[in-house]
């Protein structure tokens, strides 16, 4: 009907990097992610201040936080700490939570979803009922319970977030896997004599990659926010360790008097989430061989 002809062919397809480089938005995203990593790693060298040192000169004569100035580029907070320094150090927390917690959640969710979707039957029912059970709990309440039981620390927070966040991924991967398993190329693979492990990891998983990437990048923003919520409730990252979330929550009551205290960390969260989404989108397109030759 659409009368498409097979695309004319190039001698060699350009590499993934070459194709990624052609996308402006992806480059912006990549740049922002790289910037955040750079800030997190080199924080001690980028700023003369300590994140937790309360400075006398960081407060006005009335004891109010200082607005952005040459001395404190992003201003200072209620305790006279340099905001830029806190955001730089806070990016460590956010990146660890965003990548580790989200990564673990993604791995658990994918494994559960793919196993349940492919084998179905008894294993599938058990795994998916477990997922439903997890979904039935309010995620935040569960996270608070878990965080209250264990001694709060950065890594515990990451694991708590992973525990509540794998379920959505599992559901989505389950649905996609069970439809993929019905496709003819899987039947073809079985007639060739391929075993389950090979079919799962060599044939089904590659088709799930775009979905995993999209869920993974979307998950980064939710996990960063969840960490902020937990920190605010006192069961997350403990002050004075900075995280983008607890900077906002520490200062939200002074939003009207000192808007920069909420704006800058908020901007950091939004731009990191956006950056990961841009990179994720581009990666999804670039990794899909059927999209080749159809890009601008």
């Amino acid at each position: 009907m659409t009368a498409t002809k097979p695309a004319t062919l190039r001698a060699s397809a350009p590499s993934i990097w070459t194709r990624l480089r052609r996308r402006k938005l992806a480059l912006i995203g990549l740049f922002l992610v790289a910037l955040t990593f750079f800030g997190a790693i080199f924080a001690p060298w980028l700023t003369p201040y300590e994140p937790n040192t309360q400075m006398f000169e960081g407060l006005t004569m009335q004891g109010a936080p200082m607005p952005p100035s040459a001395q404190f580029p992003l201003g200072t907070d209620l305790l006279g700490r340099d905001l830029l320094t806190r955001i730089l150090y806070g990016s460590r927390t956010s990146l660890i939570i965003g990548l580790v917690a989200n990564g673990v959640a993604l791995v658990i969710g994918t494994l559960v979803g793919i196993t349940a979707g492919y084998f179905r039957g008894f294993i599938g029912s058990v795994l998916m009922r477990l997922t439903d059970l997890m979904m039935a709990f309010p995620a935040l309440l569960l996270a608070i319970c878990l965080a209250a039981i264990f001694q709060p620390s950065l890594w515990i927070v990451a694991m708590v977030i992973a525990t509540v966040n794998w379920v959505q991924t599992a559901r989505v991967i389950y649905a996609e896997t069970s439809s993929l398993s019905q496709r003819e190329f899987i039947a073809a693979e079985r007639t060739l004599g391929a075993g389950h492990v090979r079919i799962l990891f060599r044939h089904i998983l590659p088709h799930l990659v775009p979905m995993i990437i999209v869920w993974g990048t979307l998950g980064i923003s939710t996990t960063v926010l969840l960490e902020a919520t937990l920190s605010y409730l006192g069961v997350g990252v403990q002050p004075p360790t900075p995280s983008w979330g607890n900077i906002i929550f520490e200062n939200q009551t002074y939003f009207q008097a000192a808007p920069w205290l909420v704006f800058f960390p908020g901007f950091a969260i939004v731009s990191l989430a956006l950056a990961f989404n841009l990179v994720g989108d581009a990666l999804r397109d670039v990794l899909d061989p059927t999209q080749r030759g159809q890009e601008q």
Binding site: P6, A13, E184, R190, L192, G193, G195
Partner: protein, 591 residues
């Protein structure tokens, strides 16, 4: 513009009765490289009551032409870039959308290929018809219902009142297509465009739908544009034929003239590629030999669960007590209509569905043991219907062909690469094809990749499940030739599964005709096609449209009732038919 176009014949002069004039129509798609023409300089006229067939292979622009007439080209990329379409006194090209809407369905109606997608699955048939009628005519619901009932009667659906209360999924494919036709004719359009109206239907149902369309066009004086790839359908239906290739008109002629004295080489090639039904060939294999595969009383049934306790309430008897042998080096064909269980047999043989009863491969009973299955998969390969679906789109063609070698741990990386290249050469693909992805190939090339993959393990039996059904006729012919050559070279056996009687007649040594999960007739090709004994076999053979406009049409069978179903209550299995040998191994089910 090439020379060929400049000398293309001018469109026939518009006569008294002309209802549609297409003049120098060009359709283009916008791509990054600029406008790419899809249809170029197409001109034709259509008179009242005339049936014009637009024939061509996929990508020839025949469907686009019909969409252009309907004003339904997919915006914004594809659009009419030149020429005009005139309907009655109206110029359709460039007409605003709201005026086109008034014409669509009302004066120009269209029937699509797949009836299930053309109907709304959550609306009753009656409601859909009433809605379609009331969209164009300002009449009351009860009047519209009356019109709907008339239309359903006109398409000869049994129990019309009941049909109006049913949902699309409750009807068979043929009945659904009748409903779509009823919807199209309910407003008595001047032009009816049918885009591959019978391609998705079984051959006996196709016969009924074609008869119906022909009668309707005659009775209502409707002009019919029939878009099809099937030259048999063209020969039976058309007054005039327009052959298209790559967006251009190749030839336009009255149907007899086109079939008897085709002028253009492309038309001749197209006609030559149409498989023609003969009287079959083939001999019985020497039964002293050990059969490669033997089925004995094989059954495949699926349970349907229902009720609050999820008990088994009904059972689908997909394959019921089937017995036959396949000998080394022969082509054994299974024919029958959709749902008769022919593909289920292939799936049982390859272990994709569990079976009961006996299947033996070289004397060994096939169980559901994974290790044994893997060993047998080396000798038993399958080529599927839709090569695009059967190939993993994320692997290169080379990887796909090497896959079976990797699974079975044969050779080294280098030797596997050589083997893949050799296989590609054998099936007629270049070495550069190894690094390309499936979507970069045409349909026929993809099926060659599937064949190369099946050949990689040098199997003794290849199961070809509708392997050429999705291909254009000329491509189909070359793939069938390739299969025949490979068989001679490697002395493989084929289990060839198809609904296409003409293809089976050409390729099969022995044929089994299946109906409702059972074999109703089994014999050599010449026994089945030269001397069909079972009434169902006869009906199947008679229903095949022939690419010969002078052939008398077979007698009408009007049979729009609920088809028999293989779904039965638990504890009520179907009766297994008993076969009589009517001579020389020709088995026919006792009626």
């Amino acid at each position: 513009m090439t020379l060929a176009q400049d000398i293309s014949p001018p469109p026939p002069a518009a006569g008294e009765n002309t209802i549609l004039t297409v003049d120098n129509l060009c359709i283009s798609v916008r791509t990054e490289q600029g406008l790419m023409p899809l249809v170029e300089n197409l001109s034709f006229n259509l008179s009242k009551g005339e049936t014009l067939a637009i024939a061509g292979e996929s990508g020839s622009g025949k469907s686009l032409t019909s969409l252009a007439i309907m004003g339904l080209l997919p915006p914004p990329a594809v659009r009419v870039t030149g020429g005009s379409i005139r309907f009655d006194d109206l110029v359709l090209t460039g007409m605003p959308e709201h005026r086109l809407q008034q014409l669509r369905g009302n004066r120009i109606a269209m029937i699509f290929q797949e009836p299930m997608t053309a109907l709304n699955p959550v609306m009753r048939i009656g409601a859909q018809l009433v809605e379609a009628i009331r969209a164009h005519e300002n009449i009351s619901v009860s009047q519209a219902r009356k019109r709907a009932l008339e239309a359903v009667r006109a398409v000869r659906l049994t129990e019309p009142e009941r049909r109006l209360r049913q949902y699309p999924h409750e009807l068979s494919g043929g009945m659904r297509q009748r409903v779509v036709i009823a919807m199209a004719i309910a407003l008595r359009p001047d032009i009816l465009i049918a885009d591959e109206p019978t391609t998705a239907l079984d051959v006996t149902v196709q016969r009924e739908v074609l008869d119906l369309l022909r009668d309707l066009a005659r009775d209502m004086d409707t002009a019919l544009i029939l878009i099809t790839h099937d030259m048999g359908v063209v020969a039976e239906m058309a007054d005039h034929v327009l052959v298209m290739q790559d967006g251009r008109m190749v030839e336009r002629a009255p149907v007899r003239k086109l079939f008897c004295t085709p002028e253009q080489p492309y038309t001749r090639k197209l006609l030559a590629a149409v498989p023609r039904m003969g009287t079959g060939h083939g001999v019985h294999p020497d039964s002293q030999n050990e059969p490669l595969v033997s089925f004995r009383d094989t059954r495949v049934a699926y349970d349907l669960h229902g009720g609050i306790l999820g008990r088994v309430v009904q059972r689908v008897h997909a394959v019921e007590g089937v017995s036959f042998d396949i000998y080394p080096g022969e082509t054994f064909a299974l024919v029958g209509e959709s749902g008769c269980g022919k593909s289920t047999i292939a799936r049982a043989l390859t272990g994709l569905v569990p079976h009961t009863g006996n299947i033996r491969f070289k004397g060994q009973p096939l169980g559901n043991n994974a290790i044994q299955r893997k060993k047998i998969s080396r000798e038993l390969q399958m080529v599927f219907q839709d090569p695009m679906a059967a190939l993993n789109g994320r692997m290169t063609a080379g990887d796909l062909v090497r896959e079976p070698l990797v699974i079975h741990g044969i050779g080294t990386a280098a030797s596997r690469r050589d083997r893949a290249a050799a296989l590609f050469a054998r099936v007629g693909l270049g070495e550069d094809a190894l690094d390309r992805y499936p979507h970069e190939f045409s349909g026929g090339q993809r099926q060659r990749i599937c064949i190369a993959r099946a050949l990689a393990l040098e199997p003794q039996l290849i199961i070809a499940d509708e392997s050429v059904s999705a291909l254009d006729v000329s491509v189909q012919a070359t793939v069938l030739d390739l299969l025949a050559e490979l068989k001679r070279e490697m002395n493989m056996a084929y289990l060839f599964i198809s609904h296409d009687m003409a293809v089976v007649e050409n390729i099969a040594d022995r044929v089994a005709v299946m109906y409702l999960g059972q074999i109703v007739e089994l014999g050599t090709g010449s026994q089945i096609f030269g001397d069909p004994r079972h009434p169902y076999t006869r009906r199947l053979i008679e229903a095949v449209p022939h690419a010969d406009p002078d052939r008398a049409l077979p007698a009408r069978v009007i049979d729009a009732t609920d088809p028999p179903s293989p779904v039965r209550a638990v504890g009520d299995p179907p009766q297994v038919v008993v076969h009589d040998d009517v001579g020389d191994g020709h088995l026919v089910a006792r009626l």
